[in-house]
Symmetry: C2
Subunit: 429 residues, 2 copies
Amino acid sequence: MRTRPLKVALLGCGVVGSEVARIMTTHADDLTARIGAPVELAGVAVRRPDRVREGIDPSLVTTDATALVKRGDIDVVVEVIGGIEPARTLITTAFEHGASVVSANKALLAQDGAALHAAAEEHGRDLYYEAAVAGAIPLIRPLRESLAGDKINRVMGIVNGTTNFILDKMDSTGAGYQEALDEATALGYAEADPTADVEGFDAAAKAAILAGIAFHTRVRFDDVYREGMTEVTAADFASAKEMGCTIKLLAICERAEDGGSVTARVHPAMIPLSHPLASVRGAYNAVFVESDAAGQLMFYGPGAGGSPTASAVLGDLVAVCRNRLSGATGPGESAYAALPVSPMGDVVTRYHISLDVADKPGVLAQVATVFAEHGVSIDTVRQQGKDGEASLVVVTHRASDAALTGTVEALRKLDTVRGVASIMRVEGE
Amino acid sequence: MRTRPLKVALLGCGVVGSEVARIMTTHADDLTARIGAPVELAGVAVRRPDRVREGIDPSLVTTDATALVKRGDIDVVVEVIGGIEPARTLITTAFEHGASVVSANKALLAQDGAALHAAAEEHGRDLYYEAAVAGAIPLIRPLRESLAGDKINRVMGIVNGTTNFILDKMDSTGAGYQEALDEATALGYAEADPTADVEGFDAAAKAAILAGIAFHTRVRFDDVYREGMTEVTAADFASAKEMGCTIKLLAICERAEDGGSVTARVHPAMIPLSHPLASVRGAYNAVFVESDAAGQLMFYGPGAGGSPTASAVLGDLVAVCRNRLSGATGPGESAYAALPVSPMGDVVTRYHISLDVADKPGVLAQVATVFAEHGVSIDTVRQQGKDGEASLVVVTHRASDAALTGTVEALRKLDTVRGVASIMRVEGE
C-alpha cells in the first residue's frame, strides 16, 4: 500500500461539505483500506473563514478557492458549492492543474456537463457526480455502469424531496398547496425561497443529467420541459383518488417508441396507487428505470441532506482516488447515440381533464366531437351535474401532447364549456 | 477507438448464456461505443453441442470448455454454467491464461470467493459477478463502489424470487405452502426440485456474498444461518396479519451494535406491511440497505430470468472490457475489516411465538416467568381460549436468539404448555 496520501481539496463547507470533512476524518482508516492509500484533506475553501468548523484544522481553511485548485499537488477537488459560477471555473481550473473532480452540482452538470466532461478528458482526469441526482441513492453509477450492456427506455422518478413532502402532505391530510408548503418550510424541508423546488427547476436539472446518461445523448437543462406543482389543488387529489391514483412531481426521460428520439420532462402527474413510486413518502426519492433486458428496476432512498449527499460524494471520492492510483479513468461522457431531443408536443401519454360545462343535453356529444377531431381517443368520461352547472371528467387514451393541447384550445372555444378546471397527465401504466 | 476486438468466451449457453450471446449480437454497435472497442464472441462452451442455438455461429460452439479458456487470446470469460465444478477450475484456468472473468455463479462465489479473488489479483485480472445476486438489480456495484465511503450496518433483502412468489401467493390467497408451491412449479417459477430455493440455500449463498462486500469481511456460505420456508403455514400468515405484518423469506446481514462482529442469516420472518420490503410482489427481489451516512436505501427489480441476468452480465462485461483497454482492474476483494462472523445465537431480534396451552388460571404467569428467567422481555401477549384449550401468542422485545432458544426449551417442559405451534422472527422495525 502506498503511504503518501492523496490530497483532497474541498470547495464549500456547508451542510454537505462539513459532513464530507467529518467522515474523511472519522473513517480515515476505512477509506485508506478501501482506496489503497491514505487521503488527506489538504485545503477547504469557504466564503466565511471566521465561522467555527468543528473538526477542521483552521490552517486548512482559505477563502481563495482559485489558489487552492491551482496548487498543483491536489489529487481530487470535491466541489460542493453549487450554482454555475464560480463552480464552473474552479472545476475547469482543477482539471488544468491535474486534479480529478467530484461534484454534487446538478445545475452546473445539467447546463455544462459536456464542456466539463471534455475538460476532464482533455486532461486525463475523472469527473464524478453521483451526489448531483437523488442524494445518496446510487443512480448515476448503476445507469452508466451496471446497465451499460442494456438499452434503457425510460427513467421516471421522484427526484425532489421538497415537492414530494408537500404532495404527500396534501395527499394524506387533504391540505392545500400553501398550507403544505408552510409546513414543509417550518420543518426545514423547503427553503425560504422554494422556487427552485416547487417550480421544478431542481428536478429538471436532474432529468437532464439522467436522460443524458440513460440515452447516451447530450440533454441540457433547456431541453427539459418543465412545469411546477404550485397549481396542484386539493380537488386534483380528490380526482386522483377517484381514479385510484395519487399525484407526484415526476421527472420522466423517455426514448420514443421508434427509438429515434428522446424526451425529458418534469411535471405533476397522476400515477396509480399500485405503482411503486406512489408509495414513496415524505422527502424520500425514488427512480424507476425500464430497460430492454433488465425490465423494471427501482432505486429508493433519501434524496437530500448533508449525510446522504456526503455518502454519495465519498463513494465517488474512493472511486476517483482508486483511479488516480491505477492511472486509469472511469467512464466519461457517453453521448455517441446523439439522439434528437424532441419537444413536449411529441410526448405521448394519457390525460385527465376536468371541465366545467353547462348542464344541458348535447354537451357531452360536443366535447367528444372535439376530442375526436384532434385524434385524442377517450378512455372514460364521468359527468356530474346540478343546478345548471356540471363537471365533466375525461380520461384519455395515449395521445401526443400537441394533440391534447389542440383539443383543449378547441374546448375552451365551446360556448358550453365554462372553463378547464384542470389538466393532468396520467403516468405509470 | 481500437478496432481489434476484445474476445469473449462464453461458458454455458442456457437461458442466461443464450441471452448474453443474443444481446452481444443485436447490440454490438452500442457495446462497441460504450467499451471503446468491438467485442467478439470467440467461443461458446456447451454440454450438448447438437442443440440448435439460434443466432450463434455453429463453428464457435465447443464441448471443450477447458481448451477454450486456455486458448490464450481470450480477453474475458463469461461463466454462466453455475455450480462448483467445473466452473471453479475453468475460472481459475481463465485467470492463468490472462482472461478476466464475469460470473453469475452465486454458489461458487459464496464458497470460494476469496480464492477466486486471489487468483484474479495474482494475474492482474478482474472478477465481476453482479448477476450472482438479485439478477438484474444493480447491487454488488452500488455496495462496493457507490457506498465505498460509507459504513453499511445492515443489508436485508428478498433475494429469491421463487420463495417470494410462493409466500406472496400464500399471503394473497390464503393458500397453504404445498398449494402455492404447486402453482409456482406449474408457472415455471419453481424448479422440479425446489430444494435450493425453498430451503434457503440459494438465498444463503447470496447472503454470504452481500455480507462479505458490505462488511469488508470474508463470509462464506457455511457462516450463514439458514432456515427454509417449507414450514410456514396459512396460520402463520393469519397471525402475521393480526400484527399488521406479512411473511417474507429474508436474507439479513448485520453488523453487531458494538461494531465488533457481523452475522448473516436466511429465514422466514414477519415484517410490518409499512416496510418497503412488504410490498415486493411475485418473483421480484428487493434489497434494503442501511448505512451510517446514506441512511436507508432500497434496490428493487427482477431477481432472476434470462434477460435480467444477462443485463447484469453485460454491464459487467462492459466494465471489464473497459478495464482491459485501460490496463486497470476494478475493485477486487475487500476483506480488510476481517470481522468475526458470530453464530445465530448472538443475533438480536424480536420473536412471535404461538403456544398451545391449557386453558386454566396461572398459565400466563408461568409462561411469563419462563420468559423473565431467560431475560427475554415480553412486548405483547394475546390469549384466546375455549373448551379447556387455549392459545397464547407472545411477541417479545429484542432478545438474543440464544436467549429465545433457551426460553422455548423451558416452555416445552411446562406441563401447561401442550406445544409450541410456531416461532417466527419479527424484522424491519
